[in-house]
Symmetry: C2
Subunit: 133 residues, 2 copies
DNA sequence: GCGCAAGGTTTACATCTGTAATCGACACAA
DNA sequence: TTGTGTCGATTACAGATGTAAACCTTGCGC
């Protein structure tokens, strides 16, 4: 496999870390924000300083996960990796690692450990119906 | 909160890392093995030396994830954390982080990105029927 | 009895991560 | 024009992680 689709300079081994992920979330939510704006969104919640956000932004740009477009003398940051792609990658990664690639096992596990509420089950059921009319 | 339920010396913030996980797998598969035996299982695949395995075993014992039972002058290592518990924890963690705690979203995502084969769908369907007769 | 191999323990060390402080350029107000 | 606040870039530094060598003890073969 490894069709390397969506490869935009990212995707190799460059993993997005937990802290970096928090920053990505802000930008996925609304792209083209400055460091200060991103900070406004996360610094409070995570107890970070602006400096920290700047570091994370830089690292993400280096990794090719973000694009930095100059706007006057500051930069606007925008995700280069789609949230879908990232989330999908991480999910598949987990399924691979913990369930030998068998996604159904994951669902089974979630169900068994009661991580799935009745509402979840309803949703999934609806989903299935939708996927196979 | 922090009910610290299931706390058997483990479970706090002590996370099992990727490398450590490889070792755990071997022992979950067959408990009570020596360092050398574990190495035989993983050293080849991961290109590790026995020393590396020893380090990982020690760290896991420290973390309370493994028990070391003396057997003559060596130790037999056995998991203290059940695979189920670990896998469940990691799964819930991912669902929390990437899907805001909504497990159904995960399933939806897997389905949308075609990470779910028709066979998977069958399995899940069967599962649902089982879960809610 | 003695040296060696096998075991665990200690120490090592490069990366990666989290979290910032500091530095240098520069736009803008006074 | 000079000071000041603002940016990104550079540097810092502790803790986690991956990977392993060095070390110390001790059972076993000779």
């Amino acid at each position: 496999m490894t069709p390397s689709e969506g490869k935009s300079g990212f995707g190799h081994g460059e993993r997005i870390t937990e802290a970096e992920y928090a920053v990505m979330e802000v930008l996925w939510d609304r792209p083209r924000q400055t460091a200060a704006e991103v900070c406004e969104e996360v610094c409070g919640a995570r107890g970070w300083s602006l400096a920290t956000v700047k570091t994370l932004l830089s690292r993400l740009v280096q990794k090719g996960a973000l694009a930095s477009e100059p706007d006057g003398r500051r930069f606007l940051y925008t995700p280069l990796v789609a949230r879908e792609a990232y989330v999908g990658g991480e999910s598949r990664r987990l399924v691979e690692r913990l369930f030998g690639g068998n996604a159904a096992s994951l669902v089974a596990h979630l169900a068994e450990t009661e991580a799935l509420t009745p509402a979840d089950l309803d949703e999934i059921e609806a989903l299935l119906k939708e996927l196979r009319p």
